[in-house]
Amino acid sequence: MELTSTLSRDLVLEVSKKLNEPQWLLEQRLAAWETFAKLPYPTTRTEEWKYTDITEVPFEGLPLEEPTDVPLRTREELPEAVQARIAQADLAGFVVFVGPQLVYAELPEELTRQGVVLTSLHEALKSHPKQVQGALFKTVNASDLVGSQKNRPENSKIPALGSALFTHGVFLYVPQGVEFSKPLGVFKYLGGNALSVGRTLIVSEANSQAVYIEEYISPTKVPASVNLSATELVLGSGARVRHAHIQTLGEGFYHFHRQRAHLGRDATLNDLVVNMGATISRAEVQSQMLGAGSYSEMLGLYFTAGNQHVDHYTLQHHVADHAYSDVLYKGAAKDRSRTVYAGLIKLEPGAQKTDAYQTNRNLLLSPDARADSVPQLEIGANDVKCSHGSSTAPVDAMQLFYLMSRGLPRHVGQQILVKAHLADVLTRIPIEPLRQHIEGIIEEKVKL
C-alpha cells in the first residue's frame, strides 16, 4: 500500500531481539509475519469490511513505536489525563503504559500475595514463562477465523501484523480459586504519530474471579497514528471475568482491536467494549463457548461525532451445549459520522440447548449520520433458543419536544435522549465510577 514500507521481517527480528524473547516466541512472530506478508489488506469488497474503508490508514507509513529503557515514573509524573482517570476510577490496583513502556504500577499486596499477576507481558515471560507460553496466541492468531470469514483470509491481515510486531503487552493472571471484585486497571497513554502494537493476555484459572478495565487515552488531536490491540482471554472452568475495553483516543488515530475469549465449563464473561474516540476504529469482539454451561454477556457502547467512523463485529461461537450468550450493542451517531455493526451467532452441531441473543440499536442525531447493521445467525443445532434484532432510528421528535417544552435547550434534550437510548447498556455496568466516566464522555460529546 506504501511504496516503501516501514515494516519488514528484519524489524520483527530486531524487536524480538531487543525484547530478549525466547526462541518459541520469535518463531510465532515470524510465522505471523509470513501470514501478514502474503495477505492483501481487506477492502470494501471484503464482505466483513464492506462499510469500512481503510485505504487511508498508514499501516506501513509510520515508525513502529519501539520500547526503550526508560525509568519508572512517580504518580505525579504520569500524563495528566491518566492521573485524572486514576483519581476517578476507584481501582484496586493499576498499571500505566506510556507508549510501549510500563512506567507505573500499583498493586495491592493482598492480591500479589495470593498469586495475582498484573504486569507487562515481557516481564511475565521471565516470571511466569509457562503460563504465558501456554496461552499466548491461543485465542487470537492467524488461523482464528470462524464461519464464512475463512473464505476471506484477508481478515487475518491486521491481526497477523499485530502478532508479528507487538512491542508491549499486559499479562493478567488469576490463580485457581482466587477471587477479587474491585477492578484492576490498565491505562495506555499513546502519544501518536507512530504505529503502536500491543497485546493483552488474561488467564483466569478455574473458579477464579477477576475484574479488569483497559483504557486507551491520548491527546485529543494527533497526526495520523495507528493503534493495534489484541486481547486474549482464557477462562478456566467456573472462572468469572468482568472485562472492559475503553477507547477514548484522539482524532487522528486509527484503532484496530481484536479480542477473543475462550470460555471453559460454567465460565462467565461479562464483557464491555466502549469505542468513543479515534478517527476510524474497528473492534472485533468474540466469545467462544467451549465449555458446557458457559455464559458470555457482551455489551457495546459507541457514540460518534464529526467525521468519525466506528465499526464493531461480534461473534458468539457456541461449541458446547447449555451455554448462554447475549450481545447488546448500542450506539449513537451525530454530524456526518458513521457506525457499522455486524454480528454472528454461530452454533456448532454440539451446541444443543443454547440460548443466544444479539441486539444492535442505533440512534441518529443528524440527517447526515448513518448506521449500518448486519445481524446474522448460523445455526447447526436444532434444540436452541436464538434471536437477533437491529434497529436504526432518528431522535424521537416527540421526546425532544417534551424535554424542550420544559425549558431544556436542544443540546441538553439530545444529551438526555442519547443517555436514554444507551440506558439499558449503562445500567448493566455495575462498576459505578466507570459508568459515570462513560456518561461524562457522552455528555461532553453531545455538546461538541
Binding site: 424521537d396 421528535a397 416527540m398 421526546q399 419536544f401 417534551y402 424535554l403 424542550m404 417544552s405 420544559r406 425549558g407 431544556l408 435547550p409 436542544r410 441538553v412 434534550g413 438526555i416 435522549l417 443517555k419 436514554a420 437510548h421 444507551l422 440506558a423 439499558d424 449503562l426
Partner: protein, 252 residues
C-alpha cells in the same frame, strides 16, 4: 405590556396534511383560568401543542403573543423560559434520567441560573405534599413505566416546581379516577394567583367541578364558536355538543 396570553387569527395544519385550526382568537389574562371544551377533532389539543411549539404543525397565519411578545419564531425551550408550560395529554417516557435530575435541569433552564439543592428540595417537598405523593417517585426514570394516572400527576408536579406564568393543561383529566382527578385539581388550584393563568383543554366538564374556570370557550372545527362562564360547561355536559355545532353551521 399586556399581561396575557393572546392568540390572534391562528390558522395551522398538520405538517403536509389537513388544516386543523381555522382562525382561533383567544385571550387569557393572568390571574384567570380558562377552559376550552369541544367535541373530538375540534383542534383543542392541536392549539395547546402549537402554543408550546410542537414542530409537527405548520402555522399558516396568525400570531401567538406572550405578555405582548410574539413567540411564533421561538424554539419550545425559549417559550418555556418566557413562562409557558404544556401539561401533555400523553407524557413521553424517557428512561435513563431520573425524575429529580430532570426537574432540577428544567428548573435551572427555566430560571437561567443555578438552583441550590436546598431551594430545589423545598419546592419539591411542597409540591409532593399537595399531590399526596411520596419521594420514591423522584428516583424513578422520567415517566418510565408510570401508570396513566402517575404520568398525569407527574405533569402537575412539573407544573408546580417550574411555576410557569401560563399553563396549558391538555386533557389532563382524561383517564383519571376521581381521587386522582381531585389531586390534580388540588395541584392546579394551589398555583392560582394574580400572576398565573391556566388554559384547561378538556372534553368533559368533570374536572371543572374542582377547578372552577373564569371563562369557558367552546371550540368546534378549528374555531372558538362561543364563550361564557362556568355555566356553559354544565350546559355542554347536559346537552352535548350538537347545539354548538349548529352555531358553526349558522355562522354565528
Amino acid at each position: 405590556m399586556a399581561n396575557q396570553l393572546e392568540i390572534r387569527n391562528l390558522y395551522a395544519s398538520i405538517e403536509g396534511g389537513e388544516q386543523i385550526l381555522k382562525g382561533v382568537n383567544l385571550v387569557v389574562p393572568r390571574g384567570q383560568v380558562h377552559a376550552i371544551m369541544g367535541p373530538n377533532g375540534a383542534g383543542k389539543s392541536t392549539l395547546g401543542k402549537i402554543i408550546a411549539g410542537d414542530p409537527s404543525y405548520t402555522i399558516e397565519k396568525g400570531e401567538i403573543l406572550v405578555d405582548g411578545e410574539n413567540i411564533m419564531e421561538m424554539e419550545p425551550d425559549e417559550r418555556a423560559r418566557k413562562g409557558l408550560f404544556l401539561a401533555f395529554q400523553y407524557p413521553v417516557e424517557v428512561p435513563g434520567v431520573t425524575n429529580a435530575n430532570f426537574l432540577r435541569l428544567a428548573l435551572q433552564a427555566r430560571k437561567g441560573e443555578e438552583v441550590s439543592v436546598m431551594e430545589f428540595y423545598n419546592k419539591l417537598q411542597k409540591a409532593l405534599e399537595v399531590l399526596e405523593w411520596d419521594e420514591s417517585i423522584l428516583t424513578r426514570y422520567l415517566n418510565d413505566g408510570f401508570s396513566g394516572g402517575e404520568k398525569k400527576r407527574n405533569e402537575i408536579l412539573q407544573l408546580m416546581v417550574l411555576e410557569p406564568t401560563y399553563a396549558i393543561l391538555d386533557e389532563t383529566d382524561s383517564g383519571l379516577d376521581i381521587d386522582a382527578l381531585k389531586v390534580v385539581a388540588k395541584g392546579v388550584n394551589a398555583m392560582r394567583s394574580p400572576n398565573f393563568a391556566a388554559l384547561i383543554i378538556t372534553h368533559y366538564q368533570r374536572l371543572l367541578n374542582y377547578i372552577i374556570p373564569d371563562v369557558v370557550h367552546v371550540m368546534v372545527d378549528g374555531r372558538i364558536v362561543t364563550s361564557g362562564g362556568p355555566e356553559l360547561a354544565l350546559k355542554l355536559e347536559a346537552e352535548g355538543y350538537e347545539w354548538v355545532k349548529e352555531l358553526v353551521v349558522t355562522g354565528s
